[in-house]
């Protein structure tokens, strides 16, 4: 694979022929995508997040279609690291494409353990640390919500994986100040940042008045077009917090992503006509949690110059009030 040419991309020591990668969890085991295009045309293939044990995930329904995108609550289903190493990774490594293994865990030790298991596997191009996982030792609070916790898992993976192997930190978006967390991850040894994991959202079935998902709330993912369409009507002009944060983290990951998953369409089809000036994601597709209690949120929400909006400031109120009466409302 040639890394020359105008689209060749470098993330730390990781060199890719082009910047297109699958989003973790959106390429299955790779075998499902292979009939539709040659995997070796990707810059890299990112695996579904792998955990220590097999996990069945959440009961169905795991997906709810909303006017603002798709809500999903999977519960990180997967075969566990053992089966992954035995049955899934070998096939992937035979494909002529760099493989980035996404790792997840419920404890710092679990991340460390998986990194150790991967250490002996030749051919892995990089590790992506999915920090959007509940930390069992911290009452199930997501690692990625806390700079210290996010840094601890990145450090654990860094320490236990092969020296020189690039480590990417995949950040969770529903946080007070993503810059602090990004910086903490970089300090802990991340070579690059992956922005962003899915946003939280919730849909209520208007007939049963119950959440549409078994997991109550889920992750909102969706067509930029559908979201910017609703965002456009509110004329949001604030710059995207996630975008800015990657710049201030010093090493903006210079790649774009497309998730081939559920939509199975090339990104061009759903790209909005004005994608360069895309407004921020409207709030109508995500649940805005009330600000976390001070104990759990060490970063100051009003840090000056912070791209995140302090609660209660002049953020435009999205299409919420114009929502047709029988549509599901976001969680408050």
């Amino acid at each position: 694979m040639s890394t020359s040419g105008r689209v060749a991309t470098r993330i730390g020591t990781l060199e890719l022929a082009n910047p297109v990668m699958t989003a973790s969890g959106c390429g299955g085991t790779g075998r499902e995508l292979a009939p539709f295009f040659d995997l070796s045309r990707l810059g890299a293939f990112v695996t579904t997040s792998v955990m220590a044990q097999a996990r069945a995930g959440r009961p169905t329904p795991r997906v709810a279609e909303t006017p603002s995108g798709l809500l999903t609550a999977m519960g990180l289903p997967g075969p566990g690291i053992e089966t992954f190493l035995e049955h899934e990774l070998p096939w992937l490594l035979e494909q002529d494409v760099p493989i980035i293994v996404s790792v997840a865990g419920n404890s710092v030790e679990e991340y460390a353990d998986i990194a150790r298991r991967l250490r002996g596997v030749p051919g892995v191009a990089a590790i992506e640390v999915n920090v959007a996982c509940p930390n069992v030792a911290d009452r199930g609070l997501m690692f990625g919500r806390h700079p210290g916790a996010a840094a601890s898992v990145v450090r654990a993976v860094r320490t236990h994986s092969r020296p020189g192997l690039p480590v990417l930190a995949k950040l969770a978006p529903d946080v007070t100040d993503i810059v602090t967390i990004a910086l903490a991850c970089v300090d802990a040894g991340a070579d690059g940042l992956t922005l962003i994991n899915t946003l939280e959202g919730m849909a209520i079935d208007p007939e049963t008045l119950r959440p549409a998902l078994t997991g109550v709330s889920g992750a909102c993912r969706g067509p930029p077009s559908a979201r910017s369409r609703s965002a456009a009507s509110t004329r949001c002009t604030r710059p995207c917090p996630a975008r800015r944060s990657s710049a201030s983290a010093g090493s903006p990951p210079a790649w774009t992503r497309w998730s081939s998953s559920s939509r199975g369409r090339p990104p061009s089809r759903s790209a909005p006509p004005c994608s360069t000036t895309r407004p921020p994601r409207p709030a109508c597709c995500a649940s805005w949690r009330r600000p976390s209690p001070p104990a759990a949120s060490p970063t100051s929400p009003t840090r000056s110059g912070s791209p995140t909006n302090p609660p209660g400031t002049s953020r435009p109120r999205c299409a919420r009030s114009r929502r047709p009466p029988n549509r599901a409302r976001p969680e408050k």
Binding site: F36, G264, R269
Partner: protein, 295 residues
């Protein structure tokens, strides 16, 4: 011919109302040529800029060689996505992926087959019937539904099948009652060797149960479950999981789209559909106090 699925932009030939359902015929040569009975196709609905990202999965009623190859699907207009499909006109384009999933396993010998269908799901049995008839099998139908307008293909079944038994809940066609009520009798009368099913989950469950009582193998298509739960149809999204009892005694969560939609009826844990049974591989373990506090 290859058995890998393809993604194509298919041209709509016709959309017509059939009883309470809609039938859409699409020109998709590559899919028609690869199709085997029991497989399904996944359609993108709502147009290129739609927020409706979930692909709609439908079994195939019929493939024909006209116009290079067409596939015909039958569906009920139950939600905005299927309403959009029903509103398509000739020459519109639809993004189509297929053929997907595992097909019905076919008997090697010319045996007697019972094909049991309910609602629009019954449509997928006709492609199977054609193949079985060509192999010299006897084909008997049992089709059921709430009323005459919701039993798909009863006339066609009478025409091509060696026998066709119709049941409706309100008695507006055939016998009044449920499919389950007539199954034991039809199995005895026809001397069926194998039972195929496609339709609502409750129907498949009773098909499996009755077939089991007679010691017959059952092959059922969980297409309706896939329609309710699935999102991609190709096996990447893991939304269509159902518990399957393996040969080794271990229950695994499998994908209705990629590991199905045709499954051995006796392997599916029908009572546990929509749940993760506690003894399934990877099921949440009993939480200890520390874990329980968090999640």
């Amino acid at each position: 011919m290859s058995d890998t699925p393809v993604q194509t932009s298919a041209t709509v030939l016709t959309v017509r109302q059939v009883q309470d359902y809609h039938a859409i015929t699409l020109v998709a040569a590559a899919i028609a040529e690869r199709f085997r009975p029991g497989q399904f196709v996944a359609l993108a609905v709502g147009g290129a800029h739609s927020g409706r990202l979930v692909r709609r999965c439908f079994g195939v009623y019929e493939v024909k060689s006209d116009y290079g190859g067409t596939v015909e699907l039958v569906f009920a207009d139950t939600e905005p996505g299927t309403a959009w499909l029903a509103g398509l006109r000739s020459r519109d384009q639809v993004d189509l992926v297929g053929p997907l999933g595992r097909p019905f396993r076919l008997p090697r010998d010319p045996v007697t087959c019972l094909l049991v269908g309910g609602g629009p799901g019954g449509a997928a049995l006709f492609a199977l019937a054609d193949t079985l008839l060509r192999r010299g099998c006897q084909v008997h139908f049992v089709l059921g539904g709430p009323n005459a307008r919701q039993v798909f293909g009863s006339r066609m079944a009478q025409r091509i099948g060696d026998s066709a038994t119709i049941t409706t809940e309100d008695g507006s066609a055939g016998e009044k009652g449920a499919v389950r009520d007539v199954l034991p009798r039809v199995i005895r009368e026809t001397g069926a060797d194998v039972v195929y099913g496609c339709g609502p989950t409750a129907l498949l469950r009773s098909v499996t149960q009755v077939a089991g009582e007679f010691g017959l193998p059952s092959q059922v298509s969980v297409e309706e479950f896939l329609q309710r739960t699935g999102a991609c149809g190709i096996g990447v999204c893991m939304t269509c999981m159902l518990p399957l009892h393996g040969e080794d005694g271990v229950t695994r969560m499998v994908r209705a789209c990629a590991d199905g939609p045709v499954l051995r009826g006796d392997r599916v844990r029908w009572g546990d559909l929509g749940t993760i049974p506690f003894d399934a591989l990877g099921a949440p373990r009993v939480l200890n106090v520390q874990e329980g506090a968090g999640k």
